[in-house]
């Protein structure tokens, strides 16, 4: 799909969203800061907005082509869209909402299909209620069922889980994945939550200011962020490609070695496939710096290293420390002063086991 579009964004002038990509069946994550053009892309695919130029096709059917002057109206595109606000019809019951897209079918098929999908999304008991009378997670399921019951050729999801707690979210994602195993359609999933990205993504398209700046697996995108904003969104300034050295089930921990270095980290025990690399993320603000070897600590990771560089960004000092692997550490200007930190000075990094996050 390729499209170029001029999109006036308030006072900030125009944002040009220019994206060229093709996706296969299954989940593709659109990841990026707000205002990057993620929703614009979904709207263009759905036909709610018209690109200035370009070409959009789903399953061999041309939906939009500026040169051939093709622009299929939204209602004939058969593209499912789950809106961020869900957009459930407040004056209709759950059943009426789900059956809204089935108006062309006869009564018995409508009933059968809506009952079937309500069953598989666990909302069968709610069919006669109005959206205002059910919980947020239930509304999410209803909106999803409504979008899926028409058997769309492609599915667009715009931050659909942003308002949900983690356990509800993972259950719904499981249901969605199950549905997709039997249907196998391309799914564009907009999010800026990294858990969702890891749970769903085979592939991530990172969008920034209307352009795709990265196209890879979630791990690759987060571990080698080409742009700072991606790393910040991901929340981890330090992401290491590690291998498992030993697991200590009795301690609830395991030891990992960072890349080819001698540096090991004690991290929380997680079930991982031993042959696969483990990605460990550590936030720069979670790392303590000591100017002499620290003693009697509860933290399990004390790593000796040398300061390679120090720079200041607003009120944060960003230190790069070489321990055999390179760590980014954030500290306050006063901490730098009292420790008398200089480039080349030996330091010790202190990292709690639970500050190490397994990303896979």
């Amino acid at each position: 799909m390729r499209k170029v579009l001029g999109n006036p964004t308030g006072n900030d002038g125009r944002l040009t969203v220019e994206a060229q990509f093709s996706v296969s069946n299954g989940f593709t994550i659109l990841f990026g800061p707000s205002g990057a053009g993620k929703t614009t892309i979904l709207d263009c695919v759905a036909g709610l907005r018209k690109p200035d130029s370009g070409h959009i096709a789903v399953d061999g059917t041309v939906l939009f082509d500026s040169e051939q002057r093709v622009s299929i109206p939204t209602r004939h595109r058969n593209v499912g869209y789950l809106f961020q606000t869900l957009a459930l019809f407040p004056h209709m019951t759950v059943r009426q909402n789900i059956e809204y897209g089935l108006a062309q079918r006869d009564e018995s098929e409508r009933q059968a299909r809506s009952s079937e999908i309500a069953e598989s999304f666990g909302i069968a008991a709610l069919l006669d209620r109005r959206p205002g009378r059910i919980s947020g997670g239930e509304r999410q399921r209803v909106a999803l069922a409504r979008a899926l019951v028409t058997r769309p050729k492609a599915l667009l999801l715009d931050e659909p889980m942003s308002a949900l707690d983690r356990s509800t979210k993972s259950k719904i994602l499981d249901d969605l994945r199950k549905w997709n195993e039997s249907r196998a359609v391309p799914i564009l999933y907009v999010t800026h939550e990294r858990e969702e990205m890891y749970a769903l993504g085979d592939r991530v398209l990172v969008l920034e200011a209307g352009k795709i700046v990265a196209d890879a697996t979630p791990h690759l995108v987060l571990s080698r962020p080409q742009r700072e904003s991606v790393a910040q969104l991901a929340g981890f300034e330090n992401i290491f490609d590690c291998s498992l050295v030993a697991a200590h089930p009795d301690q609830g921990t395991m030891t990992c070695r960072i890349g080819q270095s001698e540096v090991t980290l004690e991290v929380p025990l997680t079930r991982v496939a031993t042959e696969k690399p483990i990605w460990v993320g550590v936030r720069a603000g979670d790392i303590l710096l000591a100017s002499s070897p620290p003693h009697d600590l509860s933290a399990r990771n004390v790593i000796a290293g040398t300061i390679r560089s120090l720079r200041r960004q607003d009120v944060t000092i960003i230190a790069e420390v070489d321990c055999g692997a390179s760590f980014t550490v954030h500290l306050t200007p006063s901490a730098r002063q009292s420790l008398n930190l200089e480039t080349g000075k030996p330091v010790w990094l202190v990292i709690k086991t639970y500050s190490c996050h397994i990303l896979q």
Partner: protein, 225 residues
């Protein structure tokens, strides 16, 4: 009391309100959804009868439907009669006079319907026609009813436009307000008083019921709990 004037006025008010619904629904929807840059001019024209003296509006309508104007001649050719000083002419004038009272609440109600709902309807395969009748209209219904009732009440009480277009022909164009004026001119205060009181009560009841309904959650646009 003149039962004749009373019935004529009621007939006029109901007819005008129904016609205004037929005009107000599409016009209100268009005003709520259009992004045309000159839309504000249409809005201004729709609002004009609120500020224009009824006699001015009535005068222009009279000229427009009179036998010398193109509209008047066209109508004469079509029906063999004239619009001026007839009940039909009164309907035309009243529709124009009450237009903002129907269109403005409808447009306000329609534009308060979440656009995402319309988008969702389209992605689910619904035509604009179906989207209107299944989403926009039911969610905007309180505004539609407000528009209907306001145009009803407003037409019941009009005077200037009726006088200019319809004159004062009992059974054809003589409405309550004109009849009351006649009685006062004839120093017949008792009769004028009874009819005026009736009109006051009817309009008060209509508006009280309307505003009372709007207060209850059931009629709020987002009150579908």
């Amino acid at each position: 009391m003149s039962l004749e004037a009373l019935l004529l006025t009621l007939r006029l008010a109901v007819l005008v309100s129904l016609i205004l619904m037929a005009i107000g629904l599409p016009l209100g929807y268009w005003l709520a959804s259009s992004r045309w840059r000159w839309k504000f001019m249409v809005e201004a024209i729709v609002a004009l009868p609120i500020v224009l003296p009824p006699t001015v509006l009535g005068y222009y309508v009279l000229v427009a439907i009179g036998p010398l104007s193109p509209v008047g001649r066209w109508y004469h050719k079509l029906t063999g009669s004239s619009l001026a000083f007839t009940f039909r002419g009164l309907v035309v004038g009243s529709v124009l006079y009450s237009l903002p009272f129907a269109v403005q609440p409808i447009a306000a109600a329609f534009s308060s319907v979440d656009r995402n709902l319309l988008n969702a309807s389209a992605t689910l395969g619904a035509s604009p026609w179906r989207t209107f009748w299944q989403i926009v209209f039911p969610l905007g219904l309180p505004g539609v009813l407000t528009g209907f009732v306001l145009s009803l009440a407003h037409t019941l009480g009009e005077f200037g436009v009726v006088l200019m277009i319809g004159g004062n022909i009992p059974g054809a164009t003589q409405t309550i307000s004109i009849w009351i004026y006649d009685q006062v001119q004839a120093l017949n205060y008792g009769a004028a008083n009874r009819m005026a009181a009736l009109l006051l009560v009817v309009c008060s009841v209509i508006l009280t019921v309307l505003y009372g309904l709007r207060r209850t959650r059931k009629w709020g646009v987002w009150g579908w709990q």
